[in-house]
Symmetry: C2
């Protein structure tokens, strides 16, 4: 008997799930406001680890894409994206933005020196978004510097150097409705009387308190687009979202572990009774959590099977004692099924789903869902 | 004033450090045994996250390279490696191994079905290593199946189907000398009277109890080659090793955070007094720990500066209140300096250095140490 072909860890990306999630967010917005804001589909970090090329087809109905840097914007243009692109990363070098192949381009501005540089460059078609640093304080203008920055940006608009100037904010605690209301009130006081569109709401804000979005021109959605809940204790499925990524690996070996015997590095796990253990080539070097928590499991033919012992660089061990049908070559779902959402693996490992998805390394092939099986392994 | 060019997170790889570490392990071996065993340089997981192409020049003096799969072996051959390659991943498809471009090839065998397949293929020049599952039990023959497997492999050798058959073991707790002695004794009992070379010792075993290595033909070294200690509570520097990877990013923004104000997502960090905060583009989507621990820090001009608040997808915040020279464009060392080894960041985050290095994502450019600065950003 020849050995079955073995497939190590790989991620299947379903662009139709992204399209579904985008439509779902739009219906939610339509339910709460007469004028539905435009949607930036956030695809930084290689589309939250899903792969830009595999994810973009699901974002076709979005009004724009939000990325971190110019190289990512150029990648989106190469993939055929023609609608606006927003640079969230506040570029240091404004001259790079003059490439007409990037247009229409929106740019987040954090600093007056960026406005100085634009002024020297002369007329262009950029749209600027001034970032208020808010409670996050990771970037942007402080409250006392914001109005002066806005006045300078407005002068650039008046002289045709930029096309429009808007107001942008990131919430530090978007999943807390009370906090949201307070932070929105601060922001409204800050921009009171100033012209220009606003962009403040993200996935968590849209889902926890959707009414405010109708007063803004654009919303941003990242994590929810990929079918993942931004709210603790709730899964994407509860919010009507579909996971865009499912992580698989095939069993490459079965081991018998007698009662009383250890398993895995460190000898931390010892079998209480005779166990039948399945091994899959998925390890922490792929981005699977090294310490996935005592309730971590995988799905085999729809059944939950416990992850046992410490995850090694290349291997996860699974208790299949009660699943005799699990054999070498049997496919294991590591996360992303409705019955095993990535949110659950994240909670078990003490992290968040965005960390797990973006933390998948180059060793994990991302493949189109329903496409051909992987041929080559990437290392 | 034009904005300084900003460099987001990138890893510098110093192949000369790998060469130094290999020489260091060899002198340690020579100190304890008359016959120095040959060394497999383990470069699975893209050379423990360092990048195969950047790391291989440092391994030129090794006797062989150990990788997981055929694709990685082929990559080593394309990079010009001519000495033996060991496939640790126990390939499912033995026909792939007949490619003469891969020779000389050593293959780990976990299962009799692999021997069946080899028998059908006829004469070849493979060297086999039978893996004893030991206490790790992640792969390999159990104690009762081992001798039968070895006899079958020996018959393949006698008929010219393979060249040699050796004995291989992974220790589950290689950092514990008492455990090592017990596991070695079990292994010696298992292979007593059987011909063939042995390969049991890894970095941790070599460094915690080096004498035994002289009785084996080959040793394997992974983590120590990259300058990282496999032993808890000891850094590579204490072992005479040099870190091969240093992780850098430049400050892209400075924020003032007034006393009593929060910083970062979740509002978990609140400034006790007025703070000056530096931001660098390095986040959990790059593989930096999302929750790096209360004692986590970076180096700026040789001075330790605390990481504050929760690490976000794209940003680490650093307290530079006491470092007025830290400005936009100033380079920050995230790990890999003698004064800030990756072992320390790992301990602070409750993980191990191998997880951090192999967990760096495709977004982090790996660059040759002392080479040119990064031009393009990868996303």
């Amino acid at each position: 008997m020849s050995c079955a072909a073995q497939s190590r860890i790989h991620a299947r990306i379903d662009a139709s799930a992204i399209a579904h999630n985008l439509a779902r967010l739009r219906s939610l917005l339509a339910l709460h406001s007469a004028i539905v804001p435009r949607v930036w589909a956030v695809c930084k970090a290689d589309a939250y680890g899903h792969g830009l090329a595999l994810s973009l087809p699901g974002m076709a109905a979005a009004d724009g894409l939000a990325v971190m840097d110019v190289a990512s914007a150029a990648a989106c243009r190469e993939l055929g994206w023609r609608k606006p692109i927003l640079l969230l990363g506040s570029p240091a070098n404004m001259a790079e933005l003059q490439d007409s192949g990037l247009s229409p381009l929106h740019v987040v501005i954090d600093d007056e020196s960026q406005l100085d540089e634009l002024a020297r460059q002369g007329p262009g078609d950029l749209t600027l978004w001034l970032r208020f640093s808010g409670d996050l304080r990771h970037a942007g203008f402080s409250a006392h510097a914001y109005r002066r920055g806005f006045e300078r940006a407005t002068r650039l608009q008046q002289t045709g150097i930029v096309q429009q100037v808007g107001h942008l904010l990131h919430y530090a605690r978007a999943e807390e409705p009370e906090y949201l209301r307070a932070e929105r009130a601060s922001f409204e006081a800050l921009v009171a009387g100033l012209p220009g569109p606003r962009c403040t709401e993200n996935s968590a804000a849209l889902l926890s308190d959707p009414e405010y979005a109708g007063s803004t021109a654009w919303v941003r959605s990242g994590i929810a687009l990929y079918g993942i809940s931004p709210l603790a204790g709730i899964t994407g499925e509860h919010l009507g979202l579909k996971p865009a990524m499912t992580l698989f690996a095939d069993i490459h070996a079965i081991q018998q572990v007698p009662a009383g015997s250890p398993l895995g590095y460190g000898g931390a796990f010892v079998a209480e009774h005779d166990l039948r253990i399945a091994l899959v080539h998925c390890g922490y070097a792929d981005g699977y959590p090294r310490q996935p928590g005592p309730d971590a499991c995988v799905l085999i033919a729809g059944q939950e099977c416990a992850v046992v012992g410490r995850v090694s660089m290349d291997t996860v061990a699974i208790d299949v004692t009660a699943h005799p049908a699990a054999q070498r070559g049997t496919t294991v779902t590591l996360w992303g099924d409705a019955a095993l959402p990535v949110e659950r693996i994240a909670a078990s490992a003490g992290t968040i789903a965005a960390q797990l998805c973006t933390g998948l390394t180059a060793r994990v092939p991302r493949l189109r869902a329903h496409g051909p099986l992987p041929e080559a392994q990437t290392q």
